[in-house]
């Protein structure tokens, strides 16, 4: 016979993982909303303006290969997600201070991003409490930062022109697509463990 304490431990473990998976489910749900707002914002752009901006395109080298979702643990994936969304938030809040942008739509995106960051931060706190190792996440965080640094440098070099913002917006949408995939995988992982 297996003694009672063993079951207690198993129950506690199950409960804690279910808390996490519940949060993860919410994160996935919230990410859908973030992406939806981003797409709405992108739809606001005129096709003509996008065509006109095509010569300004640049490869920002989204670090999607180095941050392959399969390779990393939950903690690391969380770190990448948090950093990416945080940087997107920073970029868009810079845009909001500029004139000529659809403010209310940008606000909606920022609202959703803020909510998502709150969920992720709660998860990160939980993870810190569990003392899960987040080794190697520092390096991933840096890669994300470098990617966004490239975007910022590009904007600066282009004198923050409307075209540059358009290109960046398209790029961010691409990035969000990657984020969504990562969120899906994270939440799947969360359910399994």
């Amino acid at each position: 016979m297996i003694n009672k304490p063993f079951f207690d431990i198993v129950l506690v473990l199950l409960a804690s993982s279910s808390v996490c998976s519940r949060e993860l489910k919410l994160v996935l749900f919230q990410q859908k909303r973030v992406n939806r707002e981003s797409l709405k914002l992108l739809n606001k752009l005129q096709t003509s303006s996008i065509q006109q901006c095509l010569p300004h395109r640049k490869n920002f080298l989204l670090p999607q290969k180095s941050v392959n979702p399969h390779q990393y643990q939950k903690g690391q994936a969380l770190t990448i997600l948090h950093e990416m969304l945080q940087q997107i938030f920073n970029l868009f809040r810079a845009i909001i201070s500029l004139n000529g942008w659809e403010e209310s739509h940008m606000e909606k995106l920022l609202i959703e991003l803020h909510q998502q960051l709150k969920y992720l931060e709660a998860l990160m706190r939980w993870q810190a409490q569990q003392k899960r190792d987040t080794l190697g996440s520092e390096n991933l965080r840096l890669q994300v930062k470098i990617y966004f640094q490239r975007i910022r440098d590009y904007l600066e070099n282009q004198d923050y022109s409307t075209c540059a913002w358009t290109i960046v917006q398209v790029e961010i949408n691409r990035c969000l697509f990657f984020v969504f995939q990562l969120t899906g995988k994270l939440s799947k992982q969360g359910m399994e463990t």
């Binding site: 949060e23 606000e107 609202i111 470098i146």
Partner: protein, 561 residues
């Protein structure tokens, strides 16, 4: 340590040439040791140890290399340094996330020592968060805190992290250090629940999450709260969503006061700086005399917001109340699930939960993850079984046979922050199937017996017919056959003649019917046309007359035929 080891081995390997200049120039310059960097915010400091037997007038110079650079470059701020540290903050870096290499050597006159290479590092990873600059403003029961993010305004070190910092604050009454309170605040925030006319002291530090990096505490700042304001600020702000509106309420003891309420986006807190101009007046909550106001739901966009209320007695206005955070998701109405119950076998019931029926309301059709609370009881007793389920199928085993059980369920949102639940669904009751008793067997037995009786009757009938055919053949078959033979030709003849006759008749009949129809219809048509002749030209009626005459001619022809 590694760098040190590397440096010493390098010195050992290159020992021979190192001796040479000493022999020729007479100077014996030793490389500096233990080179290290100390980065706080945007201050880059390089430190090293010089060898003990250092000669006078020795200076040190450093060079650096970053990815994409082929050659070493002189490190600005670190040339011909007499002390053992230098500040190279003015170095132009592409970014702070790439490896930087440094090397340093001693110099005297024309002779130089070997280079001592510092372990390559990534500035951002080495950087520490410096002490913060804090600005305070006192109210009677609160302190407004304004923390400048670490680094200078155009800091490159934290340029991408301004919004990522969290600030933790320790506050205490100056009179008693024991009662410390720790709070996590945004860069612009307010500390509430303080006493008036009291000196409070506080210190703040910044933190970065994951990988956790904690900064230095700011210096201790002290401030006196003001005397109690004549007009107190409203308290206990609460907001609730009710049938398509929000109801905002607060507590206030005094009479003859007017209130106004404002709202602002919560995400603004994440952005450093003042957002005092971003507060917006809440419709229906301006100059209200009651301690509540009803706000239409479209007053706020979807998301998390902050609300504050201010009281005014005509002459002066109170400080703003404590800010209340609320999420517009609270207005979401969750509808009860639809449940059905089936008895699977004699001792278990299967309950399936259908998704809550959503109304046409826009806010509701968002697919929040839901969990269900299922309450199950025996109809005659009060003992309930409660199950919280994520799945939409629940089976209740170990039940009594032939007993009525009832079930109801409600839906919850899977969110820890705001628990929303639907009302309970309608109660569904179901009787379990009878147990493994004789009854089932009885019913089954009766059924099989009935079935077998029917089968036997049929079989017997068939057998009887066969027996009848074989053993008691009918005596009259030839006569009947004869009858048939005799009748057939007559019938055929009759049939054929009648058919011919009817054919003839039909022509006449048809002709008659045609004439009848044709005769009646034109009259009607003619009447119609007559009524229309006032508008139409006469051609129509002429044509009609013509056609009528034609038809009559045709009829005549037919009649003659």
């Amino acid at each position: 340590m590694l760098a040190l080891l590397g440096a010493t081995t390098l010195m050992l390997v290159t020992g021979a040439p190192w001796v040479l200049p000493a022999a020729s120039g007479g100077t014996n310059l030793k490389s500096p040791e233990n080179g290290r960097v100390c980065i706080i915010d945007d201050n880059f400091i390089l430190q090293w140890n010089s060898s003990r037997e250092s000669v006078r007038n020795v200076t040190f110079s450093a060079e650096y290399k970053i990815p994409g650079m082929d050659n070493w470059k002189k490190l600005p701020g670190c040339q011909h340094i007499t002390s053992t540290e230098c500040n190279f903050s003015s170095v132009k870096l592409k970014n702070v996330y790439e490896k930087i290499e440094l090397r340093i050597r001693a110099e005297k006159g024309n002779s130089t020592s070997q280079w001592h290479e510092v372990k390559p590092f990534i500035p951002f990873q080495e950087a520490q968060i410096g002490p913060l600059d804090v600005h305070l403003e006192a109210e009677d029961k609160a302190i407004v805190i304004n923390v400048s993010p670490p680094g200078t305004k155009d800091s490159i070190m934290w340029a991408m992290d301004h919004s990522s910092f969290i600030y933790s604050l320790v506050i205490w009454k100056n009179s008693s250090r024991l009662e410390e309170r720790t709070e996590t605040v945004y860069s612009r925030d307010k500390i509430y629940n303080l006493s008036p006319e009291t000196t409070y002291c506080l210190k703040v530090k910044a933190e970065l999450r994951s990988p956790r990096r904690v900064g230095f505490y700011s210096p201790v700042y002290c401030i006196n709260t003001t005397e109690k304001h004549k007009v107190p600020s409203p308290e206990n702000i609460r907001i609730d969503a009710k049938n398509q509106v929000y109801v905002l309420q607060w507590d206030y003891a005094r009479e003859n006061t007017t209130f106004r309420a404002q709202w602002s986006h919560e995400f603004l807190k994440r952005i450093p700086g003042s957002h005092s101009d971003k507060w917006k007046q809440i419709p229906n909550c301006e100059d209200v005399k009651t301690t509540r106001c009803v706000i239409p739901q479209n007053a706020f966009p979807e998301g998390i917001h902050r609300i504050r209320v201010q009281a005014s007695n005509g002459n002066s206005t109170s400080f703003w109340s404590e800010e209340k955070i609320f999420n517009t998701e609270m207005k979401t109405v969750i509808f009860p699930p639809v449940i059905s119950m089936k008895s699977v076998n004699d001792d278990s019931l299967h309950v399936s939960i259908g998704a809550p029926k959503e109304s046409e309301n826009k806010s509701v059709n968002q697919p929040y993850p839901l969990i269900y609370e299922v309450i199950f009881w025996e109809n005659t007793s009060n003992a309930e079984r409660k199950v919280v389920e994520k799945r939409t199928d629940v089976t209740f085993p170990n039940l009594k046979p032939l007993t009525v059980y009832c079930v109801k369920a409600r839906a919850f949102t899977e969110n820890g922050k705001w628990n929303k639940s639907s009302v309970f669904s309608a109660t569904v009751c179901e009787k379990t199937k009878p147990g493994n008793t004789s009854k089932t067997w009885l019913i089954a037995g009766i059924c099989t017996a009935l079935f077998s009786i029917i089968v036997i009757i049929y079989v017997v009938k068939v057998l009887l017919r066969c027996i009848n055919y074989v053993f008691f053949p009918s005596s009259k078959p030839p006569s009947t056959v004869d009858e048939y033979f005799s009748e057939w030709p007559v019938r055929n003849l009759l049939l054929s003649t009648s058919e011919e006759q009817t054919e003839r008749c039909s022509i006449i009949e048809n002709a008659n019917t045609i004439t009848v129809i044709e005769e009646t219809n034109p009259i009607e048509d003619h009447k119609k046309y007559n009524s229309q002749t006032s508008q139409d030209s006469g051609n129509y009626s002429n044509e009609d007359e013509n056609s009528e005459s034609k038809i009559s001619e045709e009829l005549l022809e037919q009649e003659t035929v």
